[in-house]
């Protein structure tokens, strides 16, 4: 057992999986020598050599496209896209190919690869460094989309992702890369893809969040019980395929739902979850299921980003609003 951050947990997992399985290769921009701009892949090249961990040319389409070819031919590529906002040049490869190989070849070829990428706001970054683009992946059949919010889940989910037979988009909330620490077993363990986690049991309202906003929601609900509001907090962990039962069962108990996400509002994951609840738990509802999200605007540069950010205060206010319906 050692204390880990989300970042060090990812690093430890990559070491573990590369040791265990020769077919795991890790590459991307600045990934080899430097160990990535956030150092998630630090030390891998030194330990496993340049064939298994290397700096790719600066070209996302080549990174993802070649990873698809490697996966088809027996390797398990775990590639890093430096920031999720830069996956677009590789998005064509993800959508047109990674997501479809299995279907296209009727199961003959599949693409067991992991595409890791830091995402999300709150770090006062440049343009294209702050977006939450999970919808763009979750919307594409054939992809799995995972977002951990703790070091434990980062390790457990990444282990599952690397061993998964399908392409997994592994989104890392960089705002909490180093902010959250936990003791983790040094040995391999898995957290299943597709299973949400109830972080706090409650009777009055279900709040669903993921990534960095899980931490913000935890802050938001502190003390709410004293005000007579007993929140059930669910960390979704997998955006697709997501744990409908966990949410529906919870809402059947509480009668209320709030989805909190950093992604922009329209056509976002909140919309999906709410309509799922309308299908599965409508008769249990005591208030309209609702969402608290980023507005439908381009994420502002740092001097305007506070307008976009979802603070614990806003989450708390929204919970109260739903309760007061």
């Amino acid at each position: 057992m050692a204390v880990q951050t989300v970042l060090s947990a990812i690093n430890q997992t990559l070491f573990e999986q590369m040791k265990k399985d020769d077919s795991v290769v890790v590459f991307g921009e600045d990934v080899g020598f430097e160990g990535g701009v956030f150092r998630a892949t630090k030390g891998l090249q030194q330990e496993f050599g340049k064939d298994r961990s290397f700096d790719s040319p600066l070209a996302e389409s080549a990174i993802i496209g070649s990873a698809i070819g490697m996966a088809v031919n027996g390797l398990k590529p775990v590639v890093e896209i430096q920031f999720s906002g830069f996956m677009f040049p590789g998005y064509n490869q993800i959508v047109a190919h990674a997501a479809r190989y299995r279907n296209r070849t009727r199961g003959l070829y599949n693409v067991p690869m992991v595409i890791r990428m830091p995402y999300g706001g709150g770090i006062r970054a440049l343009e294209h460094h702050s977006e939450s683009l999970e919808t763009l992946f979750a919307h594409i059949p054939g992809l799995k989309v995972v977002i951990p919010s703790t070091p434990y889940d980062a390790k457990g989910l990444l282990t599952s992702a690397i061993q998964d037979p399908d392409p997994v988009i592994f989104m890392e909330p960089k705002r909490i890369y180093r902010a959250f620490k936990q003791e983790l077993p040094d040995k391999e363990f898995k957290v299943p893809i597709g299973k949400a986690k109830t972080l706090k049991k409650g009777e009055d309202i279900t709040v669903v969040a993921w990534g960095a906003l899980v931490r913000e929601t935890e802050k938001a609900i502190k003390g709410l019980e004293d005000e007579g509001i007993d929140v059930e907090l669910i960390d979704l962990r997998t955006i697709q395929p997501y744990d409908k039962e966990a949410i529906a069962n919870s809402v059947k108990k509480t009668g209320r739902l709030l989805v909190v996400h950093e992604a922009v509002k329209s056509f976002g994951p909140g919309a999906e979850i709410i309509s799922m609840i309308n299908e599965k738990a409508f008769l249990y509802l005591e208030a309209p299921p609702t969402r608290l999200t980023g507005p439908d605007i381009t994420v502002p540069l740092p001097k305007g980003e506070h307008h976009f950010i979802i603070s614990p205060e806003r989450i708390r206010a929204k919970i109260k609003e739903v309760m007061a319906f």
């Binding site: 600045d30 430097e34 040319p57 040049p89 507005p295 439908d296 502002p300 001097k303 976009f308 806003r314």
Partner: protein, 361 residues
């Protein structure tokens, strides 16, 4: 033609000023009037000082993430000096001195790195496109701007910048090829500062030089000493002539060196060799250019010192003004999403206003 004489496939590199600032060959010296020469130097110097200051502000916690230009001033300033006012500049993100030369205010440039979109909003007649953070995508925009100029019969060119890392990107190749097949008046300048964050040039491409990449597309290409402002000026002048005469794009590789970190979030000591840095510090474009101008009796050491002091004060004053700009108002982050704010967004804006007001209480 320079692109013939200095064939990058033959590993030739075009240079006018040697590393010390002496003329290598009088015949190669481009015609530049004294006023332009001085303006080039002064802008490079202002760029250098504003850059040094920006790094300082960042270290003091007053400036946000910033991408330094130190060492690359000639590579992107001289090309702009070789343009007409109506020509277009399509920057990547490390061309601050070139932007200053084209007429952008330092205040705007600081404002951008301070985290305010308004810093990318230039006067229309400057013809500067905004900083492009997604690497290499701007090359296609340059191709389009150039195509439109040709289509409209306007005698103007577009100059697009990209890094050595960016030259590996699909869009670099696609844009260059598009401009070549349409014979659009585009000049692509690769600022090869030899690093893409921690990835060295050798890991980026097996090409013997990056200029040679243009040849496969049928684009006249040349490798230039990017720390030599006279050579960069001459290469761009010739490329511009070719472009406005309907003979299509040119690819120029400016061989230079990034003397600072990639951005303020980067630590180059992890991956960079000290000797390399020293080698390149001796080839500093500002030192070379200054020597040339002093030899030409266009500048004295005293004048240079005075300029340095003036630019330090100017940078400080400008940054203080930027610091006073404070946060961006709420309307500002909504207003430019569409030409006209849709009803739904108006409602979201109203909601955010109410939230902000109730929180202020």
């Amino acid at each position: 033609m320079l692109t013939k004489k200095f064939d990058p496939l033959k590993k030739k590199i075009f240079q006018v000023l040697d590393h010390e600032g002496n003329i290598t060959d009088e015949k190669l010296v481009p015609k530049i009037d004294d006023e332009t020469l001085l303006k080039m130097y002064k802008t490079m110097l202002l760029g250098r000082i504003a850059d040094t200051k920006a790094l300082q502000y960042q270290r003091q916690g007053r400036m946000l993430t910033y991408a330094p230009i130190k060492g690359q001033e000639a590579a992107h300033t001289a090309p702009i000096a070789a343009l007409d006012k109506k020509d277009w500049m399509v920057p990547a993100f490390r061309e601050m001195a070139g932007m200053l030369y084209k007429g952008a205010d330092l205040e705007k440039l600081y404002l951008y790195w301070y985290g305010n979109e308004e810093g990318n909003h230039f006067d229309e007649e400057l013809r500067i496109l905004p900083i492009s953070v997604p690497i290499a995508s701007q090359i296609n925009h340059g191709a389009g701007v150039a195509y439109a100029a040709k289509y409209k019969g306007d005698k103007e060119v577009a100059v697009a910048f990209v890094g050595d890392g960016g030259s590996s990107h699909g869009e670099f190749h696609e844009g260059l090829n598009f401009a070549a097949t349409t014979q659009s008046p585009l000049i692509v300048i690769i600022q090869n500062n030899q690093w893409a964050i921690s990835t060295p040039r050798e890991a980026q491409s097996k090409a013997q030089n990056l200029a040679s990449k243009g040849i496969g597309y049928g684009v006249p290409s040349i490798l230039v000493d990017g720390n030599d402002p006279l050579a960069m000026f001459a290469a761009v002048k010739e490329a511009r002539e070719r472009a406005i005469n309907g003979n299509g794009p040119t690819l120029i590789e400016a061989l230079t060196y990034r003397l600072g970190p990639h951005t303020t979030s980067d630590d180059p000591t992890i991956y960079r060799d000290d000797d390399d840095l020293k080698y390149w510090e001796k080839r500093d474009p500002i030192i070379r250019f200054k020597k040339y101008l002093i030899d030409k009796e266009l500048l004295t050491e005293e004048e240079d010192e005075k300029l340095q002091k003036e630019y330090k004060d100017f940078s400080n004053k400008t940054f203080k003004k930027v610091e006073k700009s404070g946060l961006v108002p709420l309307e500002d982050v909504f207003n430019y999403t569409y030409a006209e704010l849709p009803k739904d967004l108006k409602e979201q804006l109203a909601l955010h206003k109410k939230l902000a007001e109730s929180e202020a209480k």
